[in-house]
């Protein structure tokens, strides 16, 4: 629980009203980020107007803003709901499957040797390539999108659960065995809590991939959802509308990522900065 000197300073200072100068000195990145954002958007707007770029090539930020407003008060919410549902349902399904299978594989070597080649083969298949098959099997509704999302969310959880459940120090395990702990007690009291930081890394990767999974599924064939809407707007050459949906999608991804991080900080409270344990997805 070590805190840097500047953070300590900040803690002591908090409560007192801070002057603008103080804020700028402590966080110089804030004005810089704002400046960058304003100049990027401003430059974009200026370039579109100056060079008279057709709006089916690149819409001006003001046009995107207008489309966003129109969509939010219009049909965006319904399509957002569909994509959000597909994302969460697929994420939950894929995560739980990965978690359970990972736990079994980590505990039974035989299972690992039997199953792992198939799992690796499945993982190397591009999910985009098998998405059309899944749509044919499960139909044009939300079910096929949930299945596609689940296939993508599955692997990060599987890999991180296996590594995590093997991360408990050997001496820790031996100590518990010496205290007459059963295999299940070792799992519950030591292995599983030690795996939590890894599992949360997997969840974080999986939630962001889940949004992609849902959109991929909708691209292949759907009747509703933000991905379906993107295709429709693209077809009508409504570029501003497409950009507006992209903003909604990234807001959804960021929001879900922050949510997972917030839960992680509460559950894995004993680790500060568990992000240094990132495992490849």
């Amino acid at each position: 629980m070590s805190r840097s000197a500047s953070e300590e300073h900040e803690l002591l200072e908090s409560g007192k009203p801070r002057t603008l100068g103080q804020t700028l000195r402590e966080k110089p990145e804030i004005p810089l980020a704002i400046l960058l954002f304003v100049s990027l958007i401003g430059g974009w707007e200026l370039a579109v107007r100056l060079f008279e770029i057709p709006k089916i090539v690149l819409p001006a930020p003001t046009a995107v803003g207008a489309a966003l407003w129109q969509g939010m008060t219009g049909d965006f919410l319904m399509h957002f709901g569909v994509t959000f549902y597909e994302t969460i349902a697929g994420f939950v399904l894929g995560s739980i499957t990965g978690l359970v299978l990972g736990a079994l594989i980590s505990q039974f070597r035989l299972l690992e040797r039997t199953l792992y080649p198939y799992i690796v083969a499945f993982q190397t298949l591009p999910k985009v390539a098998i998405a059309p098959i899944i749509v044919i099997w499960f139909g044009y509704g939300v079910t096929s999108k949930i299945v596609i999302t689940a296939t993508i969310a599955f692997f990060p959880l599987l890999a991180n659960t296996i590594v995590g459940l093997r991360s408990a120090p050997a001496e820790q395990i031996e100590l518990m065995v010496a205290f007459t702990a059963s295999r299940w007690q070792v799992f519950r009291l030591a292995r599983l809590p030690h795996a939590l930081p890894y599992i949360f890394v997997g969840l974080d990767v999986a939630i962001v991939l889940s949004v992609i999974g849902a959109i991929v599924g909708e691209f292949v064939g759907a009747q509703a959802g933000l991905g379906y809407l993107i295709l429709q707007k693209n077809f009508n050459m409504d570029m501003a509308g497409v950009f507006a949906i992209l903003i909604v999608l990234s807001a959804m991804g960021i929001g879900l990522h922050l949510l997972v991080n917030a839960i992680q900080r509460r559950v894995v409270f004993w680790m500060d900065g568990s992000s240094d344990r990132v495992m490849g997805a």
Binding site: E171, E174, M176, V177, F179, W270
Partner: protein, 256 residues
């Protein structure tokens, strides 16, 4: 006799199929309430011996008994302390001490009082609600010792418990361990590679040598108790240390 070891052998088989004699014909016994230390260079099998007594390692042949019953697995009557405190970082100090109680499904209420009294004995009563990462290395190891004693075991096994601590903390932990031993009347077997530590703590020192791992000598330490830290400057203490060191030098087995 609490512990009796006779004709104990442990053979490891390497990947290449060669046999390594980790322990060869080991014989000794430990009386109730005795403090025995095991000293020897690395590779002499002292940790192997401790693991066999803890029941976490299978012996190849020979007899190992506790109160006459063979040790064929972990026992509820043994407490262990390793070099690393290996506390669970998500549990408070008190919850860590209570781990054996939880594992052995003993009465939680009754043993919570016991856990608190051991924390008081090691001077950590004010820290029971803290988490391990808020404690120093020495404090963590004191929690580890409390955890090893909380279920009232007959035998306390310690594998280089102070090996990771700095010299000054180590000295005060030695003093403290003797105080705990004196108050709890436990039987202790402590493995170390520090000769002064082995002499300071022990009623008897078991000297082991490697290739194959065996007991080369057992000596009585007749220093009076209680032993203040200053005793390490006494002539009698020095004599024991020199004798042990000479013994290892004559075997030319001491790496240090």
């Amino acid at each position: 006799m609490l512990i009796s070891v006779g004709g104990l052998n442990k053979v490891y088989r390497t990947r290449e199929g060669a046999d390594i004699n980790a322990l060869s014909n080991v014989n000794f016994s430990i009386g109730e309430g005795e403090f025995v230390t095991v000293v020897g260079p690395s590779g002499c099998g002292k940790s192997t011996l401790l693991k066999i007594l803890a029941g976490t390692l299978r012996r190849t042949s020979g007899q190992v008994t506790m109160r006459g019953a063979p040790i064929d697995g972990p026992s509820r009557d043994v407490g262990v302390v390793f070099q690393a405190p290996v506390l669970l970082p998500w549990r408070t100090v008190l919850e860590n001490v209570m781990l054996p109680i939880e594992i052995q499904k003993r009465d939680r209420r009754q043993y919570t009082e016991k856990a608190r009294s051991f924390l008081k004995l090691v001077g950590l009563q004010a820290f029971e609600g803290k988490y391990p990462n808020e404690l120093s290395g020495g404090m963590q190891q004191r929690v580890g010792i409390s955890r090893a004693l909380v279920h009232d075991p007959a035998l306390l096994l310690m594998d280089e418990p102070f090996g990771a601590l700095d010299a000054m903390t180590r000295e005060s932990m030695n003093l403290e361990l003797l105080r705990i031993w004196n108050e709890s009347k436990k039987t202790v077997l402590l493995v170390t590679h520090s000769i002064p530590e082995a002499v300071y703590l022990a009623d008897r020192v078991i000297m082991m040598s490697p290739r194959p791992g065996r007991i080369s000598e057992i000596i009585e330490i007749d220093l009076p108790r209680p032993r203040p830290l200053e005793i390490i400057n006494s002539e009698a203490f020095g004599r024991h240390v020199v004798a042990i060191r000479r013994h290892f030098q004559s075997l030319s087995a001491l790496d240090a």
